[in-house]
């Protein structure tokens, strides 16, 4: 038979452990969040790069062929598609897991 003081002490111990565990878990969530933010930032560059390169290619090809707005319009949209493709390729590995 355990005395009530013992049980109280045990309760305190359990409470302390629970607090510790909760703090640890919250930290882990924060870590995952900042990591996700970093990944998001990296991938956003990928998207912008696609559109930018598409637009630049369109502009200079237009200058070369003298078809002023057509290639710029078409290649900017295709550049967006290329950006999405790049994002898909770089996250494909993560989705596999």
């Amino acid at each position: 038979m355990k005395k009530p003081e013992d049980i109280e002490a045990l309760n305190k111990k359990i409470g302390a452990f629970k607090k510790k565990e909760a703090a640890k878990r919250k930290e882990a969530v924060d870590d995952a969040r900042s990591e996700n933010a970093l990944t998001g930032f990296q991938l956003s560059i990928e998207l912008v790069a696609g559109v930018f390169i598409g637009a630049a290619m369109g502009y200079f090809l237009d200058l070369m062929f003298g078809t002023r707005p057509i290639l710029l319009c078409v290649l900017t949209v295709l550049g967006g598609a290329a950006g999405v493709l790049n994002i898909y390729r770089s996250t494909k590995e993560e989705f596999k897991e």
């Binding site: 990296q42 912008v48 790069a49 696609g50 598409g54 550049g79 493709l85 790049n86 390729r89 770089s90």
Partner: protein
């Protein structure tokens, strides 16, 4: 108070002009030269006495070597180990350049689009030439992956071409943006330290924390640059 962007200014160290083209040896070139010399001297000094059981000095280059070796092996595969020296050089040059730029009065050449962009374009050309050399006409499969009907070719080929060309751009922007932001932040905080007088110790504490964080970022960005170069090299060696 000087501008926080002043640190990125390129100044000629040895002026040199050829027919109106500025080919001066600038502070950026000087930083690159010092970085390259530093790497060579470090490796020469550390690997002077080579033994099977490495001492402390020898274990530093060996650890770096093994780290990049495993990186290439997992990301490119066994056939990629032929091009290990290129990836190793890339990593060392960028990592040391980033770290070297953190010293006061030095210059961060990795914060310039011109320098990193040229490096990225060089890496792209290297990848393309290796792809063509290894796979001959099979390399054209990069632009039209297997399993895609030929009717879609007019749509897929430009998309793949833009995707290929945008890779060095995103590599460059990622590294340059990270380096530039960190250095501007350090400079602004440094300005606060001076202008706040006695209260300046508050930003000074922050600055000492941020400079440690910047060292971490310097290595991390070099690592990311290397990993992505490895992945692109792997893409060049085999189709998607």
């Amino acid at each position: 108070m000087s501008s926080p962007l002043e640190q990125f200014e390129i100044k000629p160290v040895i002026p040199f002009h050829v027919r109106g083209i500025d080919l001066s040896f600038s502070n950026s070139s000087l930083a690159m030269l010092i970085t390259a010399l530093f790497i060579i001297v470090l490796f020469m000094l550390c690997l002077r006495k080579r033994s099977v059981v490495p001492n402390l000095a020898q274990s530093v280059p060996e650890a770096l070597y093994e780290f990049i070796y495993n990186l290439v092996k997992t990301n490119v595969g066994k056939e990629g180990l032929k091009y290990f020296s290129f990836i190793f050089c890339l990593f060392l040059f960028i990592a040391c350049g980033n770290l070297f730029g953190l010293f006061p009065y030095s210059f961060t050449f990795t914060s310039h689009v011109a320098a990193v962009g040229a490096l990225s374009c060089l890496a792209l050309l290297f990848n393309i030439s290796i792809g063509i050399y290894r796979r001959k006409f099979g390399y054209l499969r990069t632009f039209l992956p297997k399993g895609i009907p030929y009717a879609l070719a007019p749509l897929v080929v430009p998309i793949e071409a833009i995707s290929l060309l945008s890779k060095p751009f995103s590599l460059t922007v990622r590294l340059v943006a990270n380096m530039t932001v960190g250095h501007i932040m350090l400079k602004i905080l440094g300005g606060f330290v001076v202008s706040l007088g006695l209260l300046g110790f508050v930003p000074l504490i922050f600055q000492s924390l941020i400079i440690i964080f910047e060292m971490f970022i310097a290595i991390l960005q070099a690592f990311i640059y290397t990993v992505l170069s490895c992945i692109y090299l792997g893409d060049a060696l085999r189709s998607h």
